[in-house]
Amino acid sequence: MALIELRDVRREYDLGEVKVHALRTVSLEIEQGEFIALVGPSGSGKSTLMNTLGCLDRPTHGSYRLDGEEIVSMTRDQRARIRNKQLGFVFQNFNLLNRTSALENVELPLMYGPRMSARQRHDRAREVLDQVGLGDRYHHHPSQLSGGQQQRVAIARALVNRPSILMGDEPTGNLDSRTSREVIALFRELNERQRITVILVTHDPGIARNAERTIVLRDGRVVEDTTDFAKAKAALEFDADAS
């Protein structure tokens, strides 16, 4: 059984007169331990797909099974539990709580999970911060950290509950190229060493190249799903030509 199973997933936004089809029938499967890049031009539906996979959004049609559990029929609270337990998010703009230390930012998901003592939370958060190379920055606030360091804090936060899937929404979008490479290297390391499934949304072919498998979206449809990056690139460029 695949970790993620999307069957005929559609997402429509009802804006009164017009219906916007953000996703039109997407079906795909993702196995545990894959490293996937979701690429496509803006408006292609990759963010909607990301939000759907991340259990932040609910498709209007179809079925989404995550680890065998049907997400579409779940309540808000059930999806919150899934996000807390199974998923880790890394955002383009880091989305750390400002005026809150790195350690406390990383502890946040632990507070919404099963009951844990404060000491256990500190220990776990320290452990993950050490893992991403920020062992000397526990008590720094986001404003005192560089962009790369902030994104590492965000990755530590995403990892703290030992999720099976790590999702990055343009995680290198606000970083310079050297830091981007470091962050991507971290994703690769996590994928290879800990078999964490990584799904990255990006429009940067240089980032997508690192993935084993690339899924190209256009107009709410999957137009290419391949392990051959050249093919994906071609699909993307075709897209760029068309627009």
Partner: protein, 413 residues
């Protein structure tokens, strides 16, 4: 998420905006302080009234003669009560602690070159002090022998001492009361003014037999009233019934015939005075409570602003697994913490203000001993009220926060 963590997060969030938190809290502080002060002063007033009533003699019941009609004028002056009635009430009614006959008189008291007209001159029985719950400061009270022999003795209130004796010890001195020489055998302890402002120490007591025979020269045996005290406040109605039955029997009044006496008690008066102070306190508290509502609206306003400002934070927390109720409790507790802090400060301020008010009253009106009352239950109620304000006015903003869509909230700039 545990409550402790939530409270910690709430405190942290409030500390990030200290100035705003302080300004928001002021509304609640003023409200709670105002209510606390007013309730405390009101309870002081009530305590004062109750004290006065206790001074009057605890659980006092008056028995007065029944009506007579004389040329269309109706008066309570039937000569129906006797000293024997008083004695019988005192000894035969189980719910009665003590009873004393009363004979009213008045006139001038002379000692040496000084003269004085006491406000009250009463003829009483041996149990009078027991009935009124009064004490002697010096000397002794009348004995049964004094009553039997119509002894020319008296007991005086404190006011008479400076008026007549200056520095002389009054005990053993002889006064002339309406030209009858009377020896002072006792001095009552000071009682101060009563709630109407009358000086209760401006008083002279004599045995009722002495007053009747020697001062009034009355050939009759009747007395003017009987003052009775019940064993306790809850036995008032029992005592009243026992007195009535006893007097009906002693006066040979058949069923259907009109009673030749009236029984009144102080409970009604006490109840009415209590109701007046209570209503006044309630009314003023309600007015003060309005400021609490205004304070609550202030909290609601600031919480709404806070929810809007922190939309992204809410989105982040939701993405990380916070459920609606986690967000709800976070903001609700923030608002309760805010209002409770206001409650604590308001309580302290209110206590200080009522202390100051008590001191002012006592300083400007010497003689009144206005009690300082800060009751623990009232403080508890004030705190509960402050917290309730937080819950009530924090609920809407908190609910709004909890209903946010995580995607929209994350995208919020």
């Amino acid at each position: 998420m545990s409550l402790l963590d939530t409270v910690r997060i709430a405190l942290r969030a409030l500390l990030k905006n200290k100035m705003r938190a302080v300004l928001t809290v002021i509304g609640v502080v003023i409200g709670i302080a105002a209510v606390t002060t007013i309730v405390s002063i009101g309870q002081g007033a009530n305590r004062l009234v109750q004290g006065e009533l206790a001074n009057l003699g605890t659980n006092v019941i008056f028995v007065i003669p029944g009506q007579t009609t004389d040329g269309g004028v109706r008066q309570n002056d039937a000569p129906s009560l006797t000293a024997g009635d008083a004695e019988a009430i005192g000894s035969q009614c189980p719910a009665v602690l003590a009873a004393s006959p009363l004979v009213f008189t008045g006139g001038q008291v002379i000692y040496g070159n000084e003269n004085w007209s006491p406000k009250e001159m009463l003829g009483v029985g041996t149990d009078f002090l027991l009935v009124r719950n009064w004490r002697l400061e010096a000397g002794s009270f009348f004995s049964q022998a004094d009553l039997d022999s119509k002894a020319k003795v008296c007991v005086i209130g404190q006011t008479l001492i400076p008026k007549l004796f200056r520095t002389t010890n009054p005990i053993g001195q002889t006064l002339r009361v309406n030209n009858v020489p009377v020896r002072v055998i006792g001095i009552l302890s000071k009682k101060g003014a009563n709630m109407v402002g009358d000086d209760q120490d401006n008083l002279l007591l004599m045995p009722q037999t002495t007053v009747r025979k020697r001062l009034l020269g009355s050939p009759m045996d009747n007395i003017h009233a009987i003052m009775v005290s019940a064993r306790s406040t809850n036995q008032m109605s029992v005592a009243t019934r026992q007195i009535r039955n006893l007097l009906l029997e002693r006066h040979d009044i058949a069923p259907g015939e009109e009673d030749d006496f009236d029984i009144t008690d102080m409970e009604e008066v006490a109840g009415m005075l209590g109701m007046i102070t209570g209503t006044l306190t309630l009314m003023l508290s309600a007015i003060a409570g309005i400021s609490l509502v205004v304070g609550g609206v202030g909290i609601m306003n600031i919480m709404l602003v806070s929810v809007t400002e922190r939309t992204r934070e809410i989105g982040i927390r939701m993405a990380l697994g916070a459920r609606g109720r986690d967000i709800l409790s976070q903001f609700l507790i923030e608002s309760v913490v805010l209002s409770s802090i206001g409650g604590v400060i308001g309580l302290a301020l209110g206590t200080a203000m009522s202390m100051a008010a008590t001191m002012l009253i006592n300083a400007y009106k010497p003689g009144t001993d206005w009690p300082m009352v800060v009751s623990f239950p009232a403080a508890l109620v004030a705190m509960g009220f402050a917290a309730a304000v937080g819950v009530f006015f924090g609920f809407y903003p908190a609910r709004r926060a909890s209903k946010l869509d995580p995607i929209d909230a994350l995208r919020y700039e």
